[in-house]
């Protein structure tokens, strides 16, 4: 992100104080649910369902987490999610990069139509696709394998990935590759040696987006998996079914679900934000 030497000058101390209060209120609203989920997960049952609501447990306990991993084998769905999300990221990036390159570097017949097709892809309600897809997956023999999810998630992340990568590629001056090609490199070499390294930040950002989307998805996950390969949101939802109102363990499951996403996001956020906003801002 290009740092501005001086962001908006903070004129008066009054305005500064007001904006501080507003920001604090806003952050409290955005973050409180996470705080509350965490606090709930470390409360013993006696305090959870007691007469008064406590905002910090008198006797914090990690019992819920222990039970979750020992009795409900929460590691397994985490591993399943990791496999699905990592494979999706790899495939989606490769396929989208090729398409984005084509859209940004060639002017060809049907280009507009194809771009429209990709962009409209995400407008179809998930539920519209779900049932026909179930039949298709079964016919292909990949239902209840990670492949079914990888294929679906790849498709749903392609349009946005193409959009992100296309925006970024269009900003790279073509003269760079042209110079390399004049020097005798072919298009593929120019792409690998010149464009790819320069695109790295944007590729990482797009990858993080794809990974998080796949990690979080529930609707397809619940339809296309079974006991053996269910992903983490599905496991979490099942837990709600099994445990009913055992909020201690449910919230512990929630915290475990979000931690990998947070770690991922913090590492990639700077580049992800650049990539995400580049298209819309320069548009």
């Amino acid at each position: 992100m290009n740092r501005r030497p001086n962001s908006r000058r903070n004129s008066s101390p009054g305005a500064s104080f007001l904006s501080f209060v507003l920001l604090a209120a806003m952050l409290a609203f955005l973050l409180f649910p996470f705080y509350w989920t965490f606090v709930t997960s470390i409360k013993p049952n006696s305090e959870l369902y007691g007469q008064t609501v406590t905002y910090w447990p008198k006797a914090p306990s990690f019992d819920s987490y222990r039970k979750l991993f020992l009795d409900y084998n929460f590691l397994k769905p985490m591993l399943n999610s990791l496999i699905v999300a990592a494979s999706t990221t790899l495939i989606s990036l490769t396929v989208s990069l090729l398409a984005a390159y084509s859209f940004s570097r060639y002017r060809f017949k049907g280009r507009k139509l194809l771009m429209t097709l990709f962009l409209t892809n995400n407008m179809f309600p998930t539920v519209l696709l779900l049932i026909p897809l179930y039949a298709i997956m079964r016919r292909m023999g990949i239902l209840y394998t990670p492949m079914a999810l990888i294929l679906s998630y790849t498709t749903f992340t392609i349009p946005f990935s193409i959009w992100l990568l296309n925006g970024y590629l269009s900003d790279l001056p073509q003269s760079l590759e042209e110079a390399a090609m004049v020097d005798g490199a072919n298009r593929a070499q120019a792409f690998l040696k010149i464009i790819l390294p320069m695109m790295m930040p944007s590729i990482i950002a797009t990858g993080a987006y794809v990974f998080m989307t796949s990690w979080n998805e529930y609707t397809f996950g619940v339809m296309f998996t079974n006991e053996a390969n269910r992903t983490i949101p599905v496991a979490l939802k099942n837990l709600i079914g099994q445990l009913g109102v055992e909020w201690g363990m449910l919230t512990a499951g929630g915290i475990i679900t979000i931690i990998p996403v947070c770690i991922m996001f913090f590492f990639a956020q700077k580049r992800l934000i650049e990539g995400l906003t580049a298209g819309a801002v320069k548009g």
């Binding site: 398409a99 529930y218 979000i258 906003t277």
Partner: protein, 292 residues
């Protein structure tokens, strides 16, 4: 010699196109066909083409009309407030202060939170017996008895809308913040010289410069929010008594109850509705690309 068409652009697009064709367009065609059929898995023997029957049924279905209205409120109020609060947050985050980077990334977390978890967290917050929202409102003296927010007709819909607003603020803030950082300082300096006040700067410089960002982000959010099922589904499943049943949740519920033909018909209505939004969006994208 005739100029040969370069095959490369097509070859490069092919893998993406094949995947999308398989996973999106085949099912869509399938769904369109389903919408003209009597297709109810509970009565497989009655399956067959019935022309526009499902469509006529939908128009006369009070629940469909209600869901349509709910969708408009859900999207209008939801995206509207996401924009307003996102805008305020972006302006606040654009000011210089210690720890800005960390605050900025932390405030984005709701956006990367899975829908199932959002449902779980907020259900617990809204809980009628041990919920923290009830406790806070009681302590503040706003209410004197516990309210089961998600179980009551009048409070359930506002509650799910508040949740989607919470979820969507960060994305708006993120995009608008990027837009803000693209506005050259000179514009504000010039305005200062001319003696403009804060409001004049906001309405004459900031908002006009952000027009494109706001436009694109709003359209994207409209499509996402209209299609979103998991937040409402994990909070209320569309109840109580259909009070939170938007069109996409209605479709999901109908699909669950195995009336696939009717579910497909309603999802086509939803798709048509969103197409108008998408057309505006696409026009804008292509206009900008050609302008380059």
């Amino acid at each position: 010699m005739r100029k040969k068409t370069n095959p490369w652009p097509y070859i490069l697009v092919a893998p993406a196109l094949i995947t999308v064709a398989l996973v999106v367009f085949t099912p869509v065609v399938n769904a369109i066909l389903m919408s003209f059929q009597n297709y109810d898995l509970r009565r497989p023997s009655a399956r067959g083409f019935v022309g526009l029957k499902n469509y006529l049924e939908a128009i006369a279905d009070p629940l469909f009309i209600q869901a349509l209205g709910k969708t408009i409120v859900w999207v209008g109020v939801g995206v509207g407030f996401q924009f307003v609060f996102g805008f305020i947050l972006a302006i606040l985050l654009n000011r210089k202060f210690v720890g800005r980077g960390i605050v900025r990334s932390i405030s984005l977390i709701p956006w990367v939170t899975p829908g199932v978890l959002i449902g779980l967290m907020w259900r617990w917050i809204y809980d009628g017996s041990y919920g923290v929202l009830n406790d806070l409102l009681m302590k503040l003296g706003i209410i004197d008895t516990m309210i089961p927010f998600l179980a009551r007709q009048e409070t359930a819909f506002p509650a799910v809308i508040l949740t989607i607003i919470w979820q969507g603020i960060p994305f708006f803030a993120l995009m608008i913040l990027a837009g803000l950082q693209g506005i050259p300082d000179e514009l504000y300096d010039a305005a200062d010289v001319d003696g403009a006040n804060g409001f004049q700067k906001l309405f004459r410089i900031t908002i006009p410069s952000l027009k494109n960002v706001i436009f694109v982000t709003t359209l994207l959010r409209i499509i996402w929010v209209a299609n979103s099922v998991d937040v409402i589904y994990n909070l209320t499943e569309g109840g109580p008594a259909y009070a939170t049943q938007t069109l996409s949740v209605y479709v999901f519920n109908k699909g669950n109850s195995l009336n696939l033909g009717y579910a497909a018909t309603m999802s086509i209505f939803l798709t048509l509705l969103l197409s108008s939004v998408a057309v505006v969006y696409l026009r804008n994208i292509f206009r900008n690309q050609e302008g380059k």
